[in-house]
Point group: C2
Amino acid sequence: MPITLKDIAKMVGVAESTVSRAINGKPGVGKETKQKILEIAKKYDFQPNKLAQGLAKQETHILALLIPGLSKGNYSSLVENIEYIAEKDGYQIILCNTQNDLKKEKKYLNLLQEKRVDGAVILGGEIADQHIVNTVLRGHKNIVLVNRLCEEILIPTILIDASYGAYLATEYLINLGFENIGLITAAKNDEYIESEKIKGYKKALKDNMIEYNNELIIKTDGSREAGYLAFTQLVNIDINPDSFFVTSDLLTLGLIESIKMGGFFIPQDYPVVTYGDTLINSIIEPELTRVVEPLEKAGKLAAEVLINLINDDQAKEEIKVLKPTLKIGKSTKY
Amino acid sequence: MPITLKDIAKMVGVAESTVSRAINGKPGVGKETKQKILEIAKKYDFQPNKLAQGLAKQETHILALLIPGLSKGNYSSLVENIEYIAEKDGYQIILCNTQNDLKKEKKYLNLLQEKRVDGAVILGGEIADQHIVNTVLRGHKNIVLVNRLCEEILIPTILIDASYGAYLATEYLINLGFENIGLITAAKNDEYIESEKIKGYKKALKDNMIEYNNELIIKTDGSREAGYLAFTQLVNIDINPDSFFVTSDLLTLGLIESIKMGGFFIPQDYPVVTYGDTLINSIIEPELTRVVEPLEKAGKLAAEVLINLINDDQAKEEIKVLKPTLKIGKSTKY
DNA sequence: TTGTACGCGTTATCAA
DNA sequence: TTGATAACGCGTACAA
């Protein structure tokens, strides 16, 4: 049983309030009494009870981090950076794995209402966000969205512009002289983000006055097998693709196996650009040209915005858009 | 500003304690009053303030999860399962990334003292554990270790028997008729775990009366490059290795590239067994024979043991050892 | 069945 | 510079 303010007060022979002031470095404590108090506090390794502190000050210094899943997706870098910034500013992170489950998301958002957390970061996810809106409407404004769009109401948001990333990739292939760019996307998984990528692809074509051909787009799930099959499908259509832009790592893995299996070479026969700086993308041979998302920055920004929101009632809500970049590898040019 | 017990009490015209009893389903409340109370509570969406609850009941229903890092290593499955079980039992998880930093580990362990958490799971990590011992000695017994050994004092621990895993791998190769098994280990990174694997390797040799040759063991860091180099090194020693057991995924990746680059085939020329069911290991061609660790089980067990420890003062401390299994792929036999 | 009163550990206000 | 006191929101032993 840890020592409390009251204990120290008794030992030194002063009032609890005096001890509190001394420990918190607040003015209004005599030099000698202060010294005595700090001495005893140190001796008995006093640690203020955060629960009581929270109750009195109406704050917990804990943030909720809602995320659809940890092992799948490349969120771990985001999570690490959010935790890093939060810890620096004296905040703890409660990990909330929603598994894209509406009930769980609801339950975790309740942490705000239960006064268990001071704010929440909501990462990705694809569920209807009516209950997010409800939560905000109930007066919990300390919410930041990352890679998730809420249309009903203005919530501070960090967005990584997937459409722009796809544009970069497509434009790069176009500039290399390719016109029939096969697009393989995991649209069946991540509807919003993937549709953004398709937008970027189309825009790049349009801006370069290349006719858009629906046959060149394959919407599938994000699996390796799907990537493998995609190649077979695409080489059997009228207009042969001369290059590929693939929007997920496993898809790319499958595609590349399929290309190699067909006896073709990368980039000589088929240049390939992929999306995301994931582990898989980073180890595929040849080293892939890929769209790199500023995940660390997004994570840090999310934490900063949220903490700012908590501490400053005047903080203005806004949507910040981060741009991906293109990392040139050996899969597009020789 | 959320509604409180007091508010409801006023609205219904009863005492706070009555409301408390009604909400918590405790006996001693008239049917009608109870109904009235629950009605109002629902209407105004009453959620008990967990801070106040915690202060009154001396518990937070929050657990600390100390982990050396998220993106590197394959802890995400462990983390997910711990969170899963915890959530089921009504516990929240505070994510504590120690980055193998003594100061941070200390700071996070303080959460116990601050009464911010009811218990802690400590995952891996390689720092001296004097402060863990100190924490326990201060009366915080609700600590569970996972894949980390504390020798000074008995702490409930979940261990995945890496030595046994290595034994399985080595024995399998031996049974296939191989004797000069090259061992490539990331001993420079993860000293304790890797030395366990070396133990298992040696034991398997001994049990099968195969002479142990020090030259066949390479201790390096866990990088892809190291794996690549390892092959070159090993084929240039007196006793040519006839097969490989590699203890980390990136190492294996490098080794396999090196083998293929040399014009050799797997498994025809060199059978390969790897350790861990990681993403990389699961996508390498040919599909690898590998040691699979029961990570989900370890995670669930850790959460269960900890929660049990919290709720039952009689809970006995013990060390549970989980055994890995061998998953036969196509990299060892044709 | 219901209400009173106190405790949990801290902060903050006001008076001394 | 200090201390007494209330307050934060809830749980609970005891009395009514």
